[in-house]
Symmetry: C4
Subunit: 288 residues, 4 copies
């Protein structure tokens, strides 16, 4: 993927290390920074108790340079309160789609200061209030709120390996989870959207929920995949922001439905290999 | 299940018998009491015409000791009016999910005073008003409201055997009911959520609805199962509160959907037996 | 069905013929009259231009004697405006369930004066206003409003044969329509709700929509069935009121879903014949 | 199709060429003009900067002569602002139906002045604001707004070949897309609605999305079909107005669902050929 080398992603941690406290870091021209880094540069650590080294009007990175989606850029910024609201809203959307029945699933967002907002243990994702969301450190300690989701290690594992990711969703969309319980990965190029939006969705080995096993089971896939199926369990997606992680979860279930229908009717006819290559080029060009 | 013996559940009736009227019962340290008992201790029999022996500020049992879910503990208490409102709301949720088409299904909640709120016969569960809910005694006599659901004996059977249960739901989620009409129980450990949340869901023999046969058909399963499938009929779930019984109904249908998808695609690959044991340990630890 | 003979249904027309204009007809003790007849007795022909022979306070038939559902009896009566509102609301409910995509389906209600309200041709049932509903005579002439549904002959056929029916719905619930397109009737007693609520749902031969063929194709079934499947077309249900006809449509699709799931998983296990007889007795007792 | 020759469709461009600027064009008695042409005659180019040659009260074509649906004719006209609102509303409806998960799908409407409103690239269709919609020329140049959908060539291809069409929708309804990924066209006459509403829905060869290939793949079908399936991709529908294009998308997915169910249960039983001919006659008579 030589195209990817043209641009350099600078993670939140790297960004902070690039400049001593109180000074403006120099951002290379070819740099991509996360929406949260940009917010940190602009607004400081509002809500986390830290202070940004630069004031709002000094933002060294122009908005149009960043890989932010239109959805994310609409708001006034990503202060913690707004992210809590989005987690609750995403929970309602996942519930409405039938992806998190009962108290299933969990959602997290990484804050700039190295902490993580994560849904609490045992609550319905369809009825969360922003204040219900817990905050933990990257080492898994509870900073505020109720007991976090028992799958917090799964979320931290993704954040550790993927500095470009600020949101992780774990859910149980029924058709994809059915595939994952039949030992089937989404690795057939049945539609162009699957290939462009997700590439191959691998199937991680079964691991006991709420233990370190789960993080171990996905560790080998996290670097190269934004969506992973968990055998007998569900699906994990991640993204540069919460909306992207959510849309990837939708795409996984859509791909699973299409696979199910096609298999029923005699089997899917995959896109030919040379055409798949074209789709993978589009994928790289879009930076997905 | 030796872990379970550490804690002792004291039913509403036992609690009332533990202290003469007007006096505070002594609650053992290892006791678990129902949310309704706790409310009775705190608020008395508001809505049922009885009086609690203790006033609100004398509550002998601290809130954090009780196995109440966050959903239940948010409210100001469980007076009858609030429980009627919750039954109507649960009806709307079940209808929106497609679990109670036409006038199918019934919902009940046990009140502290030994009476039972139950949905009336022949009404759509999607359009109930709190005042539509009937009240019956534990012997099935109508106390107030319209003719109760013809399945009231099914509900009373659960309450009789399970002092820890204060809510019962009978519904017809279409995929689970399809399984129940094909003679298939949910007894394969296909997902971790099934095993932790429900364990095995057994299939009770067919029984004519609205007769004592139905209660008889489930009698052997009620003690050890929170969800039971009824052959050619539907599903029954119960719980310490209405939200828990509702979430169990959602989990049954989710498990049924996953089973259906996995069976379509060559058959589910169950979780290995030694891993199922770990899940059952989690289940016991959580007291589910 | 000897139980049914105990009660006698008096149709709207018979009722009118029983008494000269301006006088109170004598209603036999064992009579059942339609909700519309009752309204006619109480309110007269408001909205249709005719006059009731009796005033409101002289209603010779007590409310509790009539087979009206609670839903119907809640309102202040069934004047035409209210019935138009209900048709529009039922259209929205059918659309939300996915039973009438595009401009599919049609709904009618028989008014007391021998006229029929029916949805117009070519409109989405999900977005009807009460004023959009057309009115036709029993001979199919347009009395007011836009061109009626091209399936008006189907509706009139049901009203002609069934004086007890005041509402007819034709829709295309997708699973039931799939069965109807595979030549499969709902004639296996897979669930108790099917048997009690519908009995056998027969499959009428294919007929070209919008022609007299459709009425002919169901003519042999209308007398003994409240729900009929139309080969390569859809489903027709009817009832003493609109809510009942709607609930029967829901029950047909639920039965179809259960059949589909059960067939997928090795085939449904029907309720044994001697138990089906018990259900049919319940059905007769409830007068369904 | 000799019936069709009775009426003559006059496209927006032809209409404009029929009269010199500032003068009233003479509309032949047997002419059909598009809703947008009618609006242009009545209101001029409000929103596009051009001027109509005639004022509102001089409209030479009576409303009742035009093939407009009731939905379209209800509004006060089709100024650009109203069409933007309808595009956003249609996006929400498609999303609610599950036809455009993630940022899938695109919607366009042709304006009278020869420009096209089209949804922007990369946005969720479930959350569009009217102002989010882009405007392009018939040669694909961006006139206003954000980067248009990468599938704009697909839309322009339809408009070029079909002067009677003013709206195009591309979506991914899951069951139809599953069929399209199994290489199956909707070419069996399983229900009368399919035949009357759509005729045969052909399956275009796979083509890489966002390239000219897609337009090429459908070019041979556009003239004779209002709905086309795209192998491994999705579905395209078009219509004289947006509501019609939307309803055709609904009908495609309904037909796909019915096909899937019928195939599961032993295979669909097609309508006999001589009866299909009758349906095709109805189709021609209705001008579909």
């Amino acid at each position: 993927m030589p195209e990817k080398k043209k641009k350099v992603f600078i993670s939140d941690w790297e960004l902070k290390r690039m400049a001593p406290p109180g000074q403006k870091p120099v951002i290379p021209e070819n740099a991509i920074i996360s929406p949260l880094s940009r917010d940190w540069l602009e607004y400081g650590d509002q809500g986390t108790g830290h202070q940004s080294p630069v004031t709002s009007h000094q933002s060294p990175v122009a908005r149009h340079q960043s890989p932010v989606t239109s959805h994310q850029s609409e708001g006034r910024g990503h202060a913690e309160a707004e992210l809590r609201r989005r987690i609750a809203e995403t929970g309602r959307k996942l519930y409405a789609l039938g992806f998190v029945p009962a108290a299933d699933g969990n959602i997290s967002v990484r804050l700039c200061g190295g902490t993580v907002l994560i849904t609490p243990s045992g609550a319905s994702k369809g009825a969360l209030a922003p204040a219900d969301v817990s905050k933990i450190s990257m080492s898994g300690e509870l900073i505020s709120g109720r007991k976090p989701s028992s799958e917090y290690l799964l979320h931290l594992c993704v954040y550790e390996q993927r500095p470009d990711v600020t949101a992780v969703i774990h859910a149980h969309p029924p058709v994809a989870t059915g595939l994952a319980s039949a030992g089937i990965a989404l690795d057939k190029p049945l539609t162009s959207e699957m290939v462009i939006g997700l590439g191959i969705v691998p199937l991680a080995d079964y691991a006991t929920p709420g233990t370190e096993e789960v993080a171990d089971s996905i560790a080998g896939f996290v670097k190269n995949h934004n969506a992973i199926m968990l055998a007998n369990h569900g699906v994990v997606t991640c993204g540069a922001d919460l909306e992207t992680a959510f849309q990837r979860m939708e795409t996984v279930e859509q791909a699973a439905k299409i696979t199910l229908v096609a298999e029923h009717l005699g089997g899917g006819r995959p896109i030919p290999p040379e055409k798949v290559k074209k789709l993978e080029e589009i994928r790289r060009r879009l930076g997905l």
